[in-house]
C-alpha cells in the first residue's frame, strides 16, 4: 500500500512538473530573439515541441519509465540521464560526508549537553545548536570560504580538483544543519534517558558518568534520531543547491541552478523528480526502519 502511494506521489510530481515547465515563459533556446520563424519551427520539430501537449506528456511519461529523462536543451544535447549521472558522484559524496560528520559531532555535543544539564556546557551546546539552526548554510559557506580560503589560504576556494581537500569546506558548510538538528534532538532524548531507572542502577554500581552516558544512555537515545532523517535530507538538498554553487562543485545542485537560469526544461524536470524520489524514499525508509527498531510503533499504528 505504501509503495503504491509512493508511486502515485512520484507520478503526480512528474505530471505537475511537466505542465509547469510547459507554462514557462520564453523558449529554451539560446539567443531566441535572433532565430527566424523557420528556424524556430525546425528546432521545435527537432525537440518534438511541435506535437500537441498531451502527446508529449504521454511520450515523456513513457520515456521516464525506461529511465530516459530526455535530452538537455542547453548543455550540448546530452541525454539528461548521462548529464546527471556524471554529477551524481560529488553530490552523493558531499551529502554522505556532511551527514556523517554532522551527526557524529551533533550527537557528541548533544550527549555532553545532556550530561551537564543546565550548566555552562549545556548552555554552550544549546546556543551552538540554535545558531546552527538559525544561520542559513549559504552564509556559513561564504564565511568559511572567506576565512579559510581567501584570508588564511589553507584550503582551495572552490572547484573539485584537489581530492579530499576540496571537499572539506563544502562538507563543513553542509554539515551545520544536521549537526544542529541531531544535537538538539539527542539532548532532549538523553535528558529523559539519563533519569531512568536502569541508568540509576548503573550509577549505583559505581560506573563512570562518561561510560554510562555513552554505552548505556546513548544506545536508547539514538533510536528516535531516525525520525529526523527526513527533514535532514530536505535541508541537505536545499543546502546543496547553493553550497555547490558557492564552491563551484560539479554536482546536481549546481546543475539545477544553471538549468533554472537557462530554462533547460528536461534537466529541471529530471532533477525535480530525482529530488522528490529521494525524499519519498527516505520518508518511506524512515517509517520502515522505525517499525523494525521500535515495535511499539507498529502496535500503536494498528490500534
Amino acid at each position: 500500500m505504501r509503495l503504491f502511494y509512493m508511486a502515485l506521489t512520484l507520478f503526480i510530481i512528474a505530471s505537475v512538473t511537466f505542465f509547469l515547465m510547459n507554462a514557462l515563459p520564453g523558449t529554451p533556446y539560446n539567443n531566441q530573439d535572433r532565430l527566424t520563424a523557420a528556424q524556430l519551427e525546425m528546432l521545435n520539430k527537432k525537440y518534438g515541441f511541435d506535437q500537441p501537449l498531451f502527446q508529449r506528456y504521454i511520450n515523456y511519461l513513457k520515456n521516464l519509465l525506461h529511465g530516459d529523462f530526455g535530452i538537455s536543451l542547453q548543455f550540448s544535447d546530452q541525454p539528461v540521464a548521462t548529464l546527471l549521472a556524471q554529477r551524481m558522484g560529488p553530490s552523493i559524496q558531499l551529502g554522505l560526508q556532511a551527514v556523517l560528520f554532522g551527526t557524529l559531532v551533533g550527537v557528541f555535543l548533544g550527549v555532553i549537553a545532556a550530561m551537564h544539564q543546565n550548566r555552562f556546557l549545556d548552555v554552550f551546546c544549546s546556543l551552538f545548536a540554535i545558531t546552527g539552526r538559525s544561520v542559513p548554510n549559504f552564509v556559513v559557506a561564504v564565511l568559511l570560504q572567506y576565512i579559510f580560503a581567501v584570508t588564511l589560504n589553507w584550503l582551495p576556494i572552490g572547484l573539485w580538483n584537489d581530492g579530499f581537500r576540496s571537499t572539506i569546506l563544502p562538507t563543513l558548510a553542509l554539515s551545520i544543519s544536521p549537526m544542529a538538528e541531531s544535537c538538539r534532538f539527542i539532548r532532549t532524548e538523553m535528558v529523559e534517558v539519563l533519569s531512568s531507572d536502569y541508568i540509576e542502577l548503573a550509577r549505583a554500581k559505581g560506573m563512570g558518568e562518561i561510560r554510562i552516558a555513552f554505552s548505556h544512555g546513548l544506545r536508547n537515545a539514538l533510536i528516535p534520531l531516525i525520525t529526523v532523517l527526513g527533514p535532514m535530507t530536505v535541508s541537505l538538498m536545499t543546502g546543496s543547491l547553493v553550497v555547490e554553487n558557492i564552491f563551484a562543485v560539479p554536482g546536481i545542485g549546481e546543475q539545477f541552478t544553471k538549468s533554472i537560469l537557462s530554462n533547460d526544461y528536461y534537466t529541471i524536470m529530471a532533477v525535480t523528480i530525482l529530488f522528490s524520489a529521494l525524499l519519498v524514499t527516505v520518508i518511506f525508509l524512515t517509517d520502515i526502519l522505525y517499525q523494525i527498531i521500535d515495535p511499539r510503533v507498529r502496535v500503536e499504528g494498528a490500534k
Binding site: 502511494y5 512538473t17 509547469l20 547553493v242 533554472i260 525524499l279
Partner: protein
Amino acid sequence: MMAYQEEIKRAASAVPDSAFVAYQPSQQEAEPELPRALSFLEDSWRKLRKNKAAVVTMILLLIITCLAFLAPALSPFDPNEQHLSWKNLPPKWPGVSIDGLNGTTLFRGRRVDSYELAKVPEGQYFLFGTDEFGRDLLSRCLWGTRISLIIAFIAALLDLSIGIAYGLFSGMKGGRTDTIMQRILEILSGIPSLVLVVLMLLIFEPGITSIILAMTISSWIPMARVVRAETLKIKQMEYVQAAKALGASNLKIALSHILPNISGIVIVRAMFSIPSAIFFETFLSFLGVGMRIPNASIGTLLNGGYKVFKLYPYQMFIPAVILCVIMLSFNLFADGLRDVFDPKMKEG
C-alpha cells in the same frame, strides 16, 4: 409547624427595629480580596517573562521591526539612488577612528582614506559604506529588512489561514473526507518544497507577490497537519460533545470551541514559520530567482555583497549579520513561546 412560625414572629417583634444595625466591617477584618483570575494573555506573559532569552529577543525584534518599517523616514538616502563617483566606500562613523569604521581601506599595505580619494565632502558619512553603484548601504539594509519582513509576515499569515482552514475542516469532517484530505497532504509533502518554490517562481512574474505565493504553496502543510491532529483530539472532549448535544453547528464548534483551544500551538507554529520564510526569501534571492534588482531585500544585498566580497567584505558581512540576528531572534523567541504555550510539545 404553624405554632413554630408564630413563635418566631412573636420573638422577632419583641426586639425593637432600632436594634438592627447594618454590619460595618472594620478595615482589619475586611475579607481578603481573591486574586483576579488571569486572562490567557496575562498568564502567558507571566510565564514568558521568566525566559530571559525570549524577552531580550522580543525587544530586539520589536526594535528591528520598528526600524524596518520606519525605513522611509529613517534612511538617509533613497535606497536606489546612485552616486557613481562614491562607489564601494567603506563604512565611516563620525568620531570613530578604528580601522574599518573610519573610511580607510588597506591599499598596498598602507591605509588610504577612500573618502578623500572619492572627493566626498567633509561631514558626509556612510555608516554602512556604499555598494558598487555608490548606493548607501544603510538605507538599502533598512529597506531590504523591511521587504524581507513584510514577505515573511504575510507568508506566515497565509500559511496560518490556509493551514487552519484545511486542518479544521479535515478534522471536523472526519471519516472519508478526512482520509482523502490526508492522502492529499501526504502526496504534497513528498515534493521537496524548495524545488516547488523555484518552479513556481519561474512561472510567475518575479516580485513580492509571487515569492509569497510560491512559499505559501508548500509551507502550509505542516500547519494543516498540526491543526488537524489537535482538532481530532479536542473533538473527543466532553465540552465539545456537550455543545453538540445542545445543537451547536459544526462551524460554531470549530470556531468557538476548538480554535481557541489550539491557539497556543498555532501561535508557536506561526512564529517558527516566520524565520523559515525569511530564510526562503534570502535563499531564493541569493540564487537569483527571488527579488529582482534593483529592489533591495536581505537576499539581494547578500547576493550583491557576495559578488565583491573578496575586495569589499563589509558589503557581504553587514547583511549577513543582520540576517543572522533576525533569524536567531525569531528562533529564540519562538522557542520561548513554545515553552509557554506548549511545554509538552516535542521538538521536530
